[in-house]
């Protein structure tokens, strides 16, 4: 305390007799958090709340039809059983996208974290993040150029094997997953890379000195230690992928009907905002339920 006073006096010039009263900690904390939370409330929570209210309305509150509050939109899955199939498709696409992202992203992150030669790491990182800087729509449409019949993929394959038929798989679920993996891979690489780069080199060297070969080091050391990154990457991928509509629509064509496109249709085509909102919140509940089910695994992974 004494030294503080001396320091303050010295800083202010000791002739200043005023003693400034310290600001209580909670005031500072509140002041620092207020802009963020204020903005979040205004920009996210309020619209979300509006949508939540909408989901209980009988019709979009913009026409002349009288509005009645109802729960019928939440019965959509019972009234229209085909929605269950669509939801299942979305979950399957989400699962495969997340899995592929996890495998490729983790391996890429390992390569990145282990690349120590000169400026190689920076170069690789920039190359991996480059697709991130281009417009998402452009990225997805460029895949149609590659995947369509007589597209780039066909061209390359036919150059090597002229007798083979078309290998085009545009407008299939594979194309959707491919596009989504492409779009969300950088998230996974970054979260895994951050987790991996905190691992002490000596730990890997210790494992090698004890007789571990690269696959043992990968599976027994790197994978469990990078689990927090892998899990946050999986969450960051799975949630938006389930609700995605651009990739399914463009790359999936007729088969590209997912929860994302159905919800989008309610807002843009059918003009049934309440149903769209209700489906969104149902999807949110499903995602939360999935995370709740695996919360034990997730927590173990993040605290390890």
């Amino acid at each position: 305390m004494r030294s503080d006073t001396i320091l303050n006096d010295a800083a202010r010039g000791s002739s200043d007799p005023r003693q400034r009263r310290p600001i209580p900690a909670w005031v500072a904390t509140t002041a620092l958090l207020l802009p963020t939370y204020g903005w979040l409330t205004l920009a996210v929570l309020l619209p979300l709340l509006t949508m939540f209210v909408f989901s209980f309305m009988s019709a979009t509150p913009m026409g002349k039809t009288p509005i009645v509050f109802t729960l019928k939109h939440y019965r959509a899955f019972i009234d229209q059983p085909y929605l269950i199939n669509i939801a299942w498709t979305s979950l399957v696409i989400g699962f495969w996208t997340t899995l592929l992202c996890a495998v490729f992203g983790f391996l890429a992150a390992v390569a990145l974290a282990r690349a120590t030669v000169g400026r190689m790491r920076e170069t690789l990182l920039v190359l991996l993040l480059l697709p991130f800087w281009t417009n998402g729509l452009v990225r997805v449409f460029s895949w149609t150029m590659v995947l369509r019949e007589n597209g780039f993929l066909d061209g390359v394959v036919h150059m090597l094997l002229p007798d083979i038929g078309s290998v085009s798989f545009l407008y299939t679920r594979y194309a959707i997953v491919l596009g989504l993996v492409h779009g969300y891979l950088p998230y996974m690489i970054l979260t895994c890379y951050i987790a991996l780069s905190t691992i002490d080199d000596a730990i890997i060297e210790a494992a090698a000195s004890l007789g571990a070969r690269w696959w043992t080091i990968l599976l027994r050391i790197l994978l469990p230690l990078a689990a927090p990154g892998l899990i946050s990457g999986a969450v960051l991928t799975f949630v938006p992928v389930i609700g995605s509509f651009m990739e399914p629509r463009i790359l999936g064509g007729k088969v590209g009907v997912t929860m994302g496109t159905v919800i989008e249709d309610q807002f843009t085509q059918a003009f049934n905002w309440p149903l769209g909102a209700a489906l969104s919140f149902t999807l949110l509940a499903v995602v939360l339920a999935i995370f709740a089910t695996f919360s034990g695994v997730l927590r173990r992974g993040t605290t390890a």
Binding site: E205, G211, A304
Partner: protein
């Protein structure tokens, strides 16, 4: 148990040579310290023996087997790191059993060996704890158990005690020495702590700028340093410069210093090293090496006293003394220092 042989090993990073033509043998059962300042190449040499770095030239063999091109996992080495490097997501038992698992030892047999290893480092009953719950000293013991349980051909220690506080470090030194003596394991120990090197090892290698300057038992290296660097790095030294004259050295101020050991030819320049604790204040005028100097600084450290003195022509001399009677020499006092010709060593620059 095996010896380790390093033959003409060299390593260059870019254009900077880190090791130049290192050849030495670490005999079976020996405890060798690699001692040197940072950048001397001691860690690089250890990592070449471990297999983390491939030498540009030369050969490394462990127990007569050429391992120059054998990867780390195939060398059967035990290694300890400064940062302990325990696997944070595994229990102590899993940590120690890791190397056993790589050798196909699982289950009850592994458990038995893990328990024995933890017993050896005096941590029985710690098997189910996590590394985080252990103190630094305990973690390093686990690391030792983990390295020893696989019955390695050679134990490589990369400054394993540097992160511990003084008291713990001394405890670990005793423990390390006991276990090394019990197992008779060839051990190579990298350190920059000269006291640690002298206490632990039966051989000390002093490295400077990628070369082994001197290697030998601690006593020889300390008492008969070959070079100025060795004399300065291991312990403290006073250096006297002069010209060789009929089997003695005449300093610039005319003082003649006698040397028991070999000297360069008459007329050549010579540098003599004298340990500060080998000097003492003399009151009589009996024959022997003598030097008159004035005390400029007195450093009082309780049991030990250090003095810095200056001769008439401005040469600095250090003097270490035991605090035997509590009587300190005063600053500004002029005294005569004496020392034996046996303790005067001619060193190369």
């Amino acid at each position: 148990m095996t010896n380790v042989n390093v033959n003409a090993v060299a390593k260059t990073y870019g254009t900077t040579p880190v090791l130049t033509d290192i050849s030495t043998d670490f005999p079976e059962g020996s405890f060798t310290s690699l001692l040197g300042p940072s950048g001397s190449g001691k860690t690089t040499l250890l990592r070449i023996i471990a297999g983390f770095i491939r030498p540009d030239e030369g050969k490394v063999s462990i127990g007569g087997r050429d391992v120059t091109h054998v990867p780390v996992w195939g060398r059967n080495i035990g290694m300890m790191f400064q940062s302990y490097a325990l696997f944070p997501h595994m229990t102590i038992a899993q940590n120690v059993a890791f190397g056993l698992g790589r050798r196909g030892i699982h289950g009850a047999e592994a458990r038995k060996q893990v328990d024995a290893a933890l017993e050896m480092v005096r941590l029985p009953g710690f098997a189910d704890r996590m590394p985080k719950q252990l103190s630094g000293g305990q973690q390093q013991r686990v690391a030792l158990a983990r390295a020893m349980v696989i019955k390695p051909s050679v134990l490589l220690l990369d400054e394993p005690l540097s992160a511990l506080d003084r008291r713990l470090r001394q405890e670990m030194q005793v423990e390390l020495l006991r276990i090394q003596r019990e197992t008779g394991l060839t051990t190579i120990f990298v350190t920059h702590d000269q006291e640690e090197a002298l206490t632990l090892s039966d051989k000390v290698a002093i490295l400077d700028k990628g070369r082994i300057v001197q290697i030998g038992d601690p006593e020889t290296v300390y008492e008969k340093p070959l070079t100025r660097f060795a004399a300065e790095f291991l312990g403290d030294s006073n250096f006297l410069q002069g010209k060789v004259e009929s089997g003695a050295v005449r300093l610039a101020d005319g003082t003649v210093v006698h040397v028991t050991g070999a000297l360069p030819a008459d007329g050549a320049q010579a540098t003599l090293a004298v340990r500060p604790e080998k000097m003492f204040v003399v009151k009589d005028t009996s024959p022997g090496n003598r030097l008159t100097a004035r005390i400029t600084t007195v450093i009082y450290a309780g049991q030990a006293l250090s003095y810095i003195l200056e001769t008439a022509d401005g040469m600095q001399v250090k003097l270490f003394a035991q605090n035997r009677d509590g009587n300190l020499l005063k600053q500004g006092e002029t005294v005569v220092l004496g020392w034996s010709a046996d303790h005067t060593v001619a060193v190369a620059d």
